[in-house]
């Protein structure tokens, strides 16, 4: 395979995505946006898996399967999360994360 993009590029991208996701999770005030940040994290993981699989271990398919499963699980997670966020909206009339601090200390 000539002229391919080096593995490092994928890793850099995925790392950037990972930290972007974390940054987003820690700073966005909207619950939905936070959820999206989490998707970023999960996707960075997927990139990792796929890239590792493709570049380092082309003999097996573990990474590919793993990323598929992660996508599926992420979908399930998002579904439940959004259901709960809707519930939050019903109760708090807002999806601002800072409002959701009734319980503390």
């Amino acid at each position: 395979m000539t002229g391919t993009i080096p593995l490092q590029y994928f890793l850099i991208i995925s790392t950037l995505m990972f930290f972007t996701g974390i940054y987003g999770f820690l700073t966005r005030k909207n619950l939905i946006t936070m959820l999206m940040s989490i998707e970023l994290i999960l996707n960075s993981v997927n990139i990792n898996f796929v890239a590792f699989n493709r570049y380092l271990y082309p003999d097996n398919l573990h990474g590919h399967f793993f990323s598929l499963i992660v996508i599926a699980v992420a979908a399930a997670e998002a579904a439940v999360a959004i259901a709960i966020i809707i519930n939050i909206y019903r109760n708090f009339r807002s999806i601002d994360v800072d409002k959701v601090d009734e319980m503390k200390f």
């Binding site: 995925s14 990972f18 996701g21 974390i22 999770f25 619950l31 936070m34 959820l35 989490i38 994290i41 999960l42 960075s44 993981v45 990792n48 898996f49 590792f52 699989n53 380092l56 271990y57 097996n60 573990h62 990474g63 399967f65 793993f66 499963i69 992660v70 699980v73 399930a76 997670e77 439940v80 999360a81 259901a83 709960i84 966020i85 519930n87 939050i88 019903r90 109760n91 708090f92 959701v100 009734e102 319980m103 503390k104």
Partner: protein, 467 residues
């Protein structure tokens, strides 16, 4: 595989039954679920086939089925204790969901414990977590419950994200996701340590170790009490089981690293958990923090990396299930009967409800590690395990923390036995199921310690590093 199949079948049966029942007949689901689950629990104790499935993704050993049985017992007690609460009007039309969600998470845990590779592990983990968020938000009309749900789902998503990132690095560095292969290729290179730490943070979140624990108290407080007790014993127990398994099996090369990690984290966990628990007035929150501190103790068992360590962890979880469910059972019974949840509501409880108070006292003593109840044995073996690896100072700090924890456990005892009040909780009588749950927990607290066969049985199944 029997555990998983049976439980899946039960969940399906319940689902179908629920569809067929008329709204007025809904409560019938409870006895059905109870009976089925009891059968399942008992069936779990019969010897099962050993071996591996799916090319090594799923493993069944006597040790693993023992772990599942321990969880089953806990869940059974929780189900029994939930009866009064479930029978409330507000829960009438979603009773079966309670069981189905709970069983789903339990199935997830089974798979997690049985996993032979990280993929199965991750699947199990998420199967266990996602329905749990739904359970936390079960009483959806309560803001607290909703808040608990969102806190749990978001935090756990973050933690699984980080864990997954760790897993991807593990895969990258070893080329496999099978435990046995990973163990072979794993070394102490920086990236591998990094990957391990990411993985560990994710697991620490599940066991709620400091500083990954902050969600715990809020979620515990917001969730319905029986769900809380489920979180605090079953979920935590399952996570501890798989952590100890993975540490011993996969990361044994990193033992020097993770022993230090556990050293630091366990001290932090015990201290912070205790400090927070000291000032809690809400019983649920109080038990939440106390369970954080307890998690710190569990690490003391793991740190040994030996058969003794494994045994002590499993045994402690068993003891802890009984003790904590004893405490939660009482809190739950009282909340169900009176709606009171604060510690000072318990003033003078002994005069009006002596049996409940006695059980609560036993549970508190057991949690604090006071003989002759089981908690003492559990703690003692954890400490023995840590000492066997030479961590004497850690043991010392841990026992000091146990002393501090005794302070707040005694505060509860004090409220019930010593404090005087004009308006104690009136005498009440719980229904049969709840009482059965309480008695089961009480029996466990008293018997499991003295009855050394329990420990010896677990020990005969346990193994050390690299089994």
């Amino acid at each position: 595989m029997r555990h998983e199949l049976l439980l899946t079948a039960i969940a399906l049966i319940l689902l179908v039954t629920d569809i067929m029942l008329k709204p007025s007949q809904k409560p019938r689901i409870i006895p059905v679920a109870m009976v089925l689950f009891s059968i399942h629990t008992i069936a779990g104790f019969f010897p099962a086939q050993e071996g591996i499935l799916f090319g090594g993704m799923f493993r069944a050993t006597p040790l693993i089925s023992m772990m599942k049985n321990v969880l089953n017992v806990g869940v059974l007690i929780i189900l029994l204790q939930s009866y009064t609460w479930l029978m409330k009007e507000e829960n009438r039309d979603k009773m079966s969901e309670y069981f189905i969600l709970m069983f789903s998470t339990l199935i997830g845990m089974y798979f997690m414990i049985s996993s032979g590779d990280f993929l199965m592990f991750y699947l199990g983990l998420e199967t266990a977590t996602i329905p749990m968020a739904a359970l936390a938000a079960y009483t959806h009309h309560q803001t607290k419950s909703a808040e608990a749900g969102v806190k749990l789902i978001l935090s756990s998503a973050l933690s699984s994200g980080i864990l997954l990132f760790g897993l991807s690095l593990i895969y990258g560095s070893t080329g496999s996701i099978y435990f046995s292969d990973v163990a072979l290729f794993y070394g102490t290179e920086p990236m591998q340590v990094l990957a391990f730490l990411f993985f560990f943070s994710g697991m620490a979140f599940k066991i709620s170790l400091v500083p990954f624990h902050l969600w715990t108290a809020d979620v515990y407080e917001g969730s319905p009490i029986n769900v809380t007790s489920y979180f605090s014993v079953i979920s935590k127990g399952a996570a501890s089981f798989i952590l100890v398994l993975i540490l011993y099996k996969v990361f044994f090369q990193l033992i020097d690293v993770w022993q230090e990690v556990l050293y630091i984290i366990s001290i932090l966990t015990m201290v912070v958990g205790n400090l927070f628990a000291l000032r809690q007035k809400n019983m649920k929150r109080f038990l939440a923090f106390s369970s954080i501190a307890q998690a710190g103790f569990i690490l003391l068992g793991m740190i040994a990396g030996s058969q003794l360590g494994m045994t002590s962890v499993i045994y402690f979880v068993l003891v802890y299930i009984f003790s904590n469910l004893g405490a939660f059972g009482v809190v739950s019974a009282i909340e169900a009967a009176t709606g009171k949840i604060n510690m000072n509501d318990y003033d003078g409880l002994y005069i009006t409800n002596p049996k409940l108070s006695l059980l609560m006292m036993l549970a508190m003593f057991s949690l604090a590690g006071i003989p002759p109840v089981a908690g003492f044995f559990g703690k003692f073996f954890l400490f023995t395990s840590a000492a066997s690896a030479g961590y004497y100072w850690l043991v010392f700090i841990a026992v000091l923390n146990a002393t501090i924890s005794l302070y707040y456990y005694l505060m509860v005892v004090k409220a019930m036995f010593i404090n005087k009040t004009e308006t104690p909780i009136a005498t009440f009588r719980s229904d049969g199921m709840t009482r059965a749950g309480l008695i089961l927990a009480g029996l466990g607290i008293v018997v499991v310690g003295f009855w050394s066969q329990v420990y010896e049985f677990i020990n005969s199944l346990s193994v050390g590093l690299l089994y």
